[in-house]
Every structure is written in C-alpha cells, then in structure tokens.
Amino acid sequence: MLLLIAPLLAALPPGDDDWTIQAATVHTVSGAPIENGFVRVQGGKIAAVGKGGGGATLECAAVTPGLIDLALGIDTGPLSVEQSSETAARLSASDGLDLFSYRWERALRSGITTALAQPADYDVIGGLGLVLKTGGAPTLAARLVKPEACLRGAIGAQPSNGNAIPRFQEPQTFYFRRPTTRMGVEWVFRKAFHDTLQGQGEDDPATAADHAVLRRVLAGELPLVVQAKATQDVRTAIYLKEEFGIPRLVLDHAIEAWREPELLKRSGVAVILPPFTADGRHADGFVNDSYFLPLDAARKLHEWGVPFALSAHEGAGAGARLADQAAAAQRGGLPLAAALEAVTLTPARLLGVEARVGSLEAGKDADLVLWNGPPLQPTSRIIGVLLQGRLVLDPRSK
C-alpha cells in the first residue's frame, strides 16, 4: 500500500545488478513482442533478450523499455533561463539543473528513465537542452546521456509574456525591450537566424557564441525543439524551418499540430504532444485563449507518418502520468505498438540517443519497466523499474 522510493540510491548492495527478468510478454519496441520471453541484464546493460529462458530473478506480466519524456519540465523555473536577452542559444540548461529535486524520483517511479532537460520557455531562444537519466548519483557526470542534445526555443504567447512598451517613461527593464506579441516573437526568431547567416554582430563574443550554436542547428547537428501550442505557432515554426532550411525541427507542446496535416507531412517535422485533458482543451495560460487537442491526435499523426512523442508534463497523480497519456492515445485509436514507441524509441531517435536507450536490445542500457499486466492500460501499473541495471523500484516489495 505504501510505496516509498526513498532509498533509490542505495537500493541494493553492489554486485547485485545482474538480473534475468521473465515476463509473459517482452515488448522490445524495436521488434515484435516476445511471448514468454526474458531479458538478461549484466553490468548495467542488456545482455540478451529472447524467448523462454530460466533462472528468472524477477518475474512480471510485461516488460517494456524505460519510458522517455522529452517535456518533463523538471527545471528550476525562471531561474533556468537567462531572460536578460531574448536569445540565449549559447547557455545550457545544464547550468540550471536541480538534480536533488524529489521530482526526479517521481519521474523514475512513473517509469521515466530518460528525460530531456531544457530551459523554461521565457525566452524566444532559451538555450541548449541535455538528455539525462532520471536517477543515479545527483551529479551531471553520473546522469548524463547526451550533453547539448538540442536547442530550445518558444513560439507563441509565453516568451512575450510580461513584456510591455513603456508609457511616459524611459525603458527601465529588459522586459520592456522584449517582444510583446506573436509577431514580435517570430521577428526575434527570424532575426537570430538571419544574423547568423550574415555573421552580423559577432564582434560581441556572446552573439558569436549564440551564432555558433545556431549554425549547428542549421547544419542539422542539433535538433531545434520549439514550443508551438496553437495552430498559428505550428505554422510559424514550419515556415521558419522552410525559410531557413532547419533540418531537424521538433514541435513541443504542439496541441494543435493535428490541424495542419499537409504542413506536417510536407515539412518533415516531429511533434511532442502535451497531456490529454478531460475536455480536450488546453488553456494558454499567458493569453486569453485555449487550444483544442482531440483524443485521436496521436492516431492522426501516426497515420500521417509524422514522428511523434507523448509527454506527461510532469503529471503526478493517477491518470496524469506518461503511461496514462499512452493509454489515452489508445483510446483515441492509436495502436498499442505505436503508443509504446511514442514513449520510448521515437523520443530517443528525435534526440539521437537511440543507440543507448529506447528499446530492449542487447548492448543498450538496462532501463526497464516492469508491469503487473498489459502495459499502457489503466488496469495495469508499473511495479518495477530498473535503471542501468539497478533495481530502483522493486516489484517484490508490497
């Protein structure tokens, strides 16, 4: 009845990290599900996956790869992003992380073993994001999967929130100078890329450093992950992608991406969907508007061939977690295999970490989620989590 995840770090004595997990169904994600299969874990890696197998040290109804959330939102809020300028591409979310936050353990408990950490969306271009494990020693070195995994930006109302044009007075704060509308936000975006292409203003070392990052985006080395909630934001982001030839664009929090099938298909963007809500509506929170996310949005993207990931945005309660989003997507008509992929392999691929995480294959990190029934169903629950071979949620404890 009580589930205490406190002693995560010292879950088991060292040397006890070799496991054979036997499950009625092994969902490898990379291949077909294996009935009555096993996963063997050695030295923090997956040693073997196959059918049958004996000598199980852990048993469960189903095993899946550890879940991946690209919009976990564990940041230090406004302190994670430098707001004294609209663009801060050179700065990294790694400088603003709180790895001691209890919210990492909450994520781990809900099956999320890998997450993208990004600056909060108070700037137009907020800075670099990094991929981390959600558990382990609370140091960057211990948890890092990929530093500089993406560049984070935001289109829409949020980056212009709180800014204003001064009346009857001199501008006193940098909030006055920043964009106040969606038009202004888009302008800042375009200016950043335009100046990068022109090499303008690079006498200033900060600008030069910003441009160096933007060049990596333009070269396709870094994906650009952009918050684009409303239809107009989705369209703006895609127009920018096409205008500047940004090879890898991911639309985050894309509530209304489903309204633009042709643009999505044409531009080759990927999408991160926000959590589903009871009435489909998402209030903007910054302007007086709300956007609509139908239950079948994921099914639509799937059918159109648009790569997409699901996210829980740090939902904590029952019915609000990442696995619950995958269940909701199935209610909207998404097949189980696609739902599973949207919380494992697809997000891994979007950030280029699929060689380490995202599926159950020999050689990958032993990040596993153990279920007491068919995965991603409301009648099932996560009863065990392995993170790099360490049992951080023990299915045997009551």
Binding site: M1, L2, L3, L4, I5, A6, A71, G73, Y102, E105, R106, R109, W258, R259, P275, T277, A278, D279, G280, R281, H282, A283, G285, N288, S290, F292, P294, L295, D296, A297, H313, E314, G315, A316, G317, A318, G319, A320, A327, A328, Q330, R331, G332, N372, G373, Q377, P378, T379, S380, R381
Partner: protein, 496 residues
C-alpha cells in the same frame, strides 16, 4: 445563455428523437456478454425491460423476447449496469451558499437540467447521480438523486429532498475552531429554538387547543406528531405540546435530520475533519445515517472510520501523493486499497477530472491490486446502497430499474466506449449521434457544438449571467475578474 442553450437543445433533440420505447413500453437488450454485477457474467444474454424495470435477465435462449418489444444491441456489445455517482456538487447553479447554516435550502432550485455535466454523465455511462450542495458550508441544503435526463428538474428527479450536506472542513474564511463552533452551535441553536417554542406553548396554554377546535382540526393527531419530534441523542422536554406545523421551516430540516429523515453527507478535507465529523454525528445521534465524503488525505483516519462503521465516498484523487516535510521524499498511497483493507464500505466519485469516468477509476483500482468485482462494485452497487437505492440500481437484476449500458467491449478497457445508455427502459444516448463526442475524439466541430467554457459548464454561472446582461457594467467587471481567476486555476491544473 444563448450559446449554452443552443447545443444543449440540439443534443436534447437528437437524444429525444430516437426513443424507441417510451416509459411503459417494452425494451429488449441483447449483448454478447452481460456483466450483471449480481453473479456470474452471462454470455449471449438478453435483458427485458418493461414499465421501466427489468423483468428478466438471462441467456438469450432462456429469456423470452416479448413480441412487441423493441430490440437493441447485439453480440458485439457488453451490457453493464449504469454507473451510480454517489455524490457530486456539479450540474447546478453555484454549488455553495454563503449562509453558514442553510438546511432550509433545496438543491432542486439550483439544478440545471441542461448543464454540460449531465450530458457528460451519459457519455460516461452514469445513470444515477446524487447531487448535493458544495462543501463550502457548515450545514448545507438538502440534495436530490437524479437521472441525467429530462428538461426539467421534476423529470430528472428520482429522490427529491434527499440527504443533507454538512462539512467539518473549515469553510472559506473560517478557522477549524470557528467551523466546529458553528457546526455545534447549529444544533445548539435548534435546541434553544425548540425550548423557546415549548415555553411559548406553555405560556399560551390552551391557545393551540382553542385554535384547533375553532378550525375544526384533529388536535390529538397533531399532538401525536409533536410527540414524535426529536432525535435519539437529546430531547426537549415538553416538545409534544408543540404542533408540528408550528416549526419554522428554517429549523425543521435540521430536526428532521436528527429524526433520521435524511442521510447526512459530511464533507471531510483531512483526517482531523474525520475525527470531528464522527464526534458531531455521534453527539447528535445520527451516526447510523451518516456518509463521509472524504478527500484523499483522509485515509490516515481509516481506523476511525472503520471503527465507526460509516460508509465513505472518496471524492479526492485515488492516489494520494505527499511529501515528507522533513526528508522531502514523496510517499504514494492508493487510497481505495487502504479503505478496502480496513473493511470500509466505499464508493468512488467522479470529482477528480483526471479520473472522471467511473470505469477508469475502477480500472485504476484493479491496477493497484483490487479484485475486479470489488472495484466495479465501488462505482455501482456500493454507491447504490449508500444512497438507499440498493433495490433499484447498481446491478442488472429482475425488479431493478432498467438502467443499462451497452459498451463496445469490456467496460474496463481503455478502447471501450459506451455506445448506448438505457435509463428506465428508454434509450437516452447513442454515441453514433453524439456530435460532441465526435468533437472530443476527432476534433471535428459541427457548428454550435463547441464544448462549453468552464463558465457555461456551470462552474462559474456568475459569468454566464453577466454575458446575458451586457449592460450591467459593474457586474461585468466582477465577472471578468472571476474569469481571470478561473484561467489562473486552469493554468495551474493544466500544468506547463
């Protein structure tokens, strides 16, 4: 108001049109599987409803199909009893009254038959709903059990004047001490009032008698009524002298509560509220007719609840997530599991928007280790029993009301939909014709069917009034302010 009514009328028209069997007619429901919640499931079953009640349930080959009955369903469907909502404060004009002690209020005056909530209930398969005043009170008004159909409250009503709301959770602006003081004083005030009545009666000895004789009424019968007055915990000497009709209607309902006429629904926000609630209902002698409406935190008082033997309705989240203030670690507790282990009878409720659908709540309970039948009972049989409707709803049995859901599959599967809803033998909902569901599912929005805003959904009716009356300047400002607050709330709820 126009914006609200148009879709509601549209839906009502859609739903009203196809009624194949009006009440009194016969309806046959066929299903590949019938989950009766009163014994084993029936494969290839048939349900016959006549005059609003189930007259037969069984295997298709064993149940005769009346020749004149309309037949719905088929092998692809799973039949299931309509869900029972044990307690809600939705579907009404403002849920809370600012008078602390207001047992004289009747929820009948607040229920809004065209509220989005009732429409959504049909979509989720909820066919019986106990509507009670909100928890922001000391003693609230009397509630009502309704079915989510009908254009008037009378059409909806199953049990008018049902239940009385009390709360030990401090009302807004009150401390715990003043809340408890106000609650105790409500009963003390009643006693003082009754004593005053008796005193007056004694001073005016003979007046009532003379008046009755003059009016030609049967004084003895009235006196007998008077003698029956009073609860079990305390009595007022000489109350038998007072004719029942002399009671002020402001006080009468509270006395009726003590006499056992109403079930007391006592809202508890945290474990301490549970302790206080039990203390109060024991002191007033109404423990046997008490139901605690609890938030998730109250599981900590489970031993006290079990000891008192009262049933509970879990209104908060199913999963209680709390942070230890010292260590900073989070502890999760699945509340229904605790209640079950302590042997407490409990019903789940749909107040938490994340887990609104009763089927979904039952599914979560199963995920956390509850038996399937017990989990489903918590949204069917148990709430029916708590409402005293155990013989009417909550399972598919001969003699009970014909409230049946036809689902596209197992009611607990995430891909299952409620396809048809039958209430008392009337087909009142068909998913194929539910345009709003099509919108929620696919984003296709036929003109005039946008989901209502939170204001229109009944959460903020003040705003609604203001919209209808654009000229009321001051009121409009107040409304805008309220709207801003709502948006803030949504922002919080909606996360980042």
């Amino acid at each position: 108001m126009k914006r609200l009514l148009a879709p509601a009328l549209l839906l009502a028209a859609l739903l009203a049109a196809p009624l194949p069997a009006q009440q009194g007619g016969r309806l046959v429901i066929e299903a590949g599987r019938i989950v009766t919640q009163a014994g084993p499931d029936i494969e290839n079953g048939r349900i016959v409803i006549d005059g609003g009640r189930i007259t037969a349930v069984g295997k298709a080959e064993e149940v005769e199909k009346p020749w004149d009955a309309t037949v719905i369903g088929g092998k692809a469907f799973v039949a299931f009893p309509g869900f029972v909502e044990a307690h809600t404060s939705q579907g009404m004009d403002r849920a809370n009254e600012n008078i602390d002690v207001a047992p004289f209020l009747d929820i009948r005056d607040s229920i809004d038959p065209v509220a989005y909530f009732f429409e959504d209930c049909l979509r989720q398969g909820i066919t019986t709903i106990n509507v009670q005043q909100g928890a922001n009170c000391v003693v609230g008004g009397r509630g009502m059990v309704v079915r989510p159909i009908g254009m008037t409250v009378e059409e909806m009503a199953m049990r008018p004047l049902f239940g009385l709301k009390l709360s030990t959770r401090p009302k807004g602006g009150k401390s715990r001490a003043t809340q408890m003081q106000a609650l105790r004083f409500a009963f003390e005030d009643l006693r003082l009032y009754l004593e005053g009545l008796v005193e007056k009666e004694r001073d005016d000895a003979g007046y009532a008698k003379r008046e009755a004789l003059f009016q030609g009424r049967d004084l003895e019968a009235e006196a007998a009524q008077g003698r029956a007055m009073g609860g079990t915990a305390w009595k007022v000497d000489g109350l038998e002298l007072v004719p029942r009709g002399a009671l002020d209607e402001r006080y009468a309902p509270l006395l009726e509560l003590l006499e056992g006429r109403y079930t007391a629904f006592v809202h508890c926000g945290d474990p301490l509220d549970v302790v206080h609630a039990l203390e109060v209902v024991r002191a007033q002698g109404i423990l046997a007719r008490t139901v605690l409406v609890i938030e998730q935190d109250c599981w900590k008082a489970a031993d006290r609840i079990a000891e008192a033997g009262v049933p509970v309705i879990l209104e908060g989240a199913l999963l209680d997530v709390q942070r230890d203030p010292i260590t900073g670690e989070e502890v999760e507790t699945f509340v229904p599991k605790v209640l079950q282990e302590k042997g407490i009878r409990f019903a789940l409720s749909s107040e938490d928007p994340n887990t609104r659908a009763p089927a979904y709540q039952a599914a979560l309970a199963i995920a956390h280790g509850m038996e399937r039948t017990a989990a489903l009972d918590a949204v069917t049989r148990v709430p029916a029993e708590i409402l005293g409707l155990g013989d009417e709803v909550g399972s598919l049995e001969r003699g009970k009301l014909g409230n049946v859901l036809l689902c596209s599959g197992d009611p607990l599967s995430v891909t299952t939909w409620v396809e048809h809803v039958v209430i008392e033998g009337r087909l009142v909902y068909e998913r194929a014709k539910d345009v709003r569901n099509k919108h929620l599912l696919e984003g296709v929005q036929p003109l005039g069917t946008a989901p209502p805003t939170s204001a229109e959904a009944g959460e903020d009716p003040e705003h609604e009034h203001e919209k209808a009356d654009e000229d009321a300047g001051a009121e409009k400002d107040a409304g805008d302010e309220q709207k801003g607050k709502d948006e803030d709330k949504e922002k919080e709820d909606g996360g980042r």
